[in-house]
Symmetry: C2
Subunit: 361 residues, 2 copies
């Protein structure tokens, strides 16, 4: 599935920036959007990187998203704000909101920003990663296209609603948590269909709410199961986490929520009922020295990492990872060797290149 | 297992208050501690209520906890603070920290408080529930006795580390989320042992890290599995959540963390290594009108509840619950009819009553 060569990350950055510019996005915003997007390719989260550039392009080209949004604060207090993204790219609105949360935290210790009227904001982990350089603990959450059934439900009511947070180490690399609140992702269901494979039980239900291993049954009116699977194993907890994120990102911000959250793929019809503006995010930032000496904190994080790396391993495993390990390993190799793109992604990017008249290779 | 009669909640409150007073806890603190403790009995979370009073008593009587702590802010900025609980009862330190978070939120929009040098703080849901009356969205987390293995680990490194948050409705009752980040609780393992039953696969591992259904193997050096179970179903996500809570409550606050978190049962030896002070909590509060008009928010929460209640039900279920439903139903019946106590709990409370010379019945 991978082509013969890797693509240097800077090449992907430049191409993405030029595509956004082509769509009328101002220079700074185009560069910012490309940085968030390509962070996914750099970190090995291939589903969220340039594989989605065509969709962002279509969203802009068809007028579904606003290339020059007037992003504004609609309500605020010193330690919080509510933002209206004016239907801009999430890749532009998200970083602005994150910036506001960080500035508030720098000034008075913490900052929390809800966002409505936005669109898909890329990988959630990008945002707390940005906060690390400022000695801040950053948080990011977003609601997303409904694909997940609540426990005991038989239809799609919630997104895979991710939460991300990061903690800096002193000599160790940071701990970066970035996780969806469902058992699996839609991308893995699509992969199984492409390969004509079944999926593990506990991932999906069919349109009647019965567990199934046939991915086509999820796509045709079924749903993904929340983290925890069933009542006995804590499926209500995955549902609760996803609900928490939907209530903060959607309900509190004034965005759409739950089953009414608009889809990311440009060709899907939005839900018929509108209960708010666009999709919603929620950002937070905590100033470490508002709680503890930052060097002391980072040394404690280092020790946490050492202790957890030394955990007695379960059979046939190498022992626990530290959250962020896989992404860091991908970044280390891909920043040197470039990002391998699936041949289907390369094909799509070449088509896009032709369409907009920007060389890709 | 239940005796012939229920105990009025006020009776449990009064008895608990008198036990705390007997141990030298000042009147206001004794009443506060009893309120948190008995909230668990009122809400149907029987494991966390007066069933634990004897343990709190022993902790105080043996000098393991401080009945008259000098709880102090050791660091702060307008939107955050770090608290040292001076080894007080978590049932006293927790409400003080929550109060500080709420006051900060009232003043400038949000407030976040880390706590070290504390002890078990009761049910996490009590704290955001207190915030509801002030039009605040409250958060509470705590680290706890290590009982859970990280994914791919074969030993106890983390607690069942709960997270709680609550959202007020307008006409509907509030949504209250209060969940551990493990597949199950230690209490359910103990129950299975008491009844000589096996437990579902996916709950626990033995001392070698192998999955088992025999609860005795967990107790003898095994561990509970994090929410999500295995790699395929998102066990790394449960581990990440628990790690997040440990890093905020333990590492950031200056408390003990991970495998070094002291145990709650008074008869267990604390871990040999000390990496901080006591156990840790983390509280937050968000002022709703810092983000959106509170009435508008509450009406949106009502509508969220209506839509989720109307979810198509999965086969053989009544459809999804709204987080907080079970606790509210318990509260409604128990506030009228009293709380049923297990005969073993009644026996223990009667023994305690004799010991301290306070009537119980």
């Amino acid at each position: 599935m991978y082509p013969e060569k890797n693509y240097p990350v800077n090449h992907l950055l430049e191409f993405s920036t030029r595509v956004f510019l082509h769509c009328g996005v101002p220079k700074d915003d185009a560069e910012q959007a490309a940085e968030v997007l390509v962070a996914a390719d750099l970190w090995g989260i291939d589903t969220h990187g340039v594989a989605r550039l065509r969709n962002y392009y279509e969203t802009l080209a068809r007028g579904f998203a606003n290339p020059r949004p007037n992003i504004r604060i609609i309500r605020q207090m010193p330690a919080c704000a509510a933002l209206d993204g004016d239907n801009g790219l999430g890749l532009v609105v998200g970083p602005k909101a994150n910036q506001i949360a960080m500035e508030k935290a720098e000034t008075i210790g913490t900052g929390w920003v809800s966002v409505c009227h936005s669109n898909h904001f890329g990988i959630a982990g990008y945002y707390p990663w940005k906060a690390l350089a400022h000695n801040l603990i950053g948080w990011a959450m977003t609601n997303t296209t409904p694909q997940v059934a609540p426990l005991w439900g038989a239809e799609r009511m919630l997104g895979t609603n991710p939460i991300a947070i990061a903690f800096p180490g002193y000599e160790e690399p940071p701990i970066i948590i970035d996780m969806a609140t469902s058992t699996t992702s839609y991308g893995r269901i699509e992969n199984a269909i492409r390969k004509a494979e079944t999926v593990p039980s506990g991932w999906i239900i069919d349109g009647e709410g019965r567990g199934t291993v046939f991915p086509g049954e999820m796509v045709n009116g079924g749903a993904i199961i929340p983290l925890g699977i069933d009542r006995e194993h804590g499926g209500h907890k995955g549902y609760c986490l996803s609900a928490m994120i939907d209530l903060l990102c959607g309900v509190l911000s004034g965005a759409n929520w739950g089953p009414f959250t608009p889809p990311f793929p440009f060709h899907l019809k939005p839900p018929e009922r509108v209960v708010g503006k666009g999709i919603g995010h929620f950002f937070g930032a905590l100033r470490i020295d508002g709680f503890i000496d930052p060097d002391e904190f980072k040394r404690r994080v280092d020790e946490w990492i050492h202790v957890f790396r030394a955990t007695k391993p379960a059979p046939e495993t190498g022992g626990p990872l530290i959250p962020g390990d896989p992404e860091r390993m991908a970044r280390d190799s891909r920043s040197r060797e470039g990002a391998p793109l699936l041949s289907s992604v390369v094909k799509e990017l070449r088509e896009l290149a032709t369409l907009v008249g920007i060389p890709f290779d």
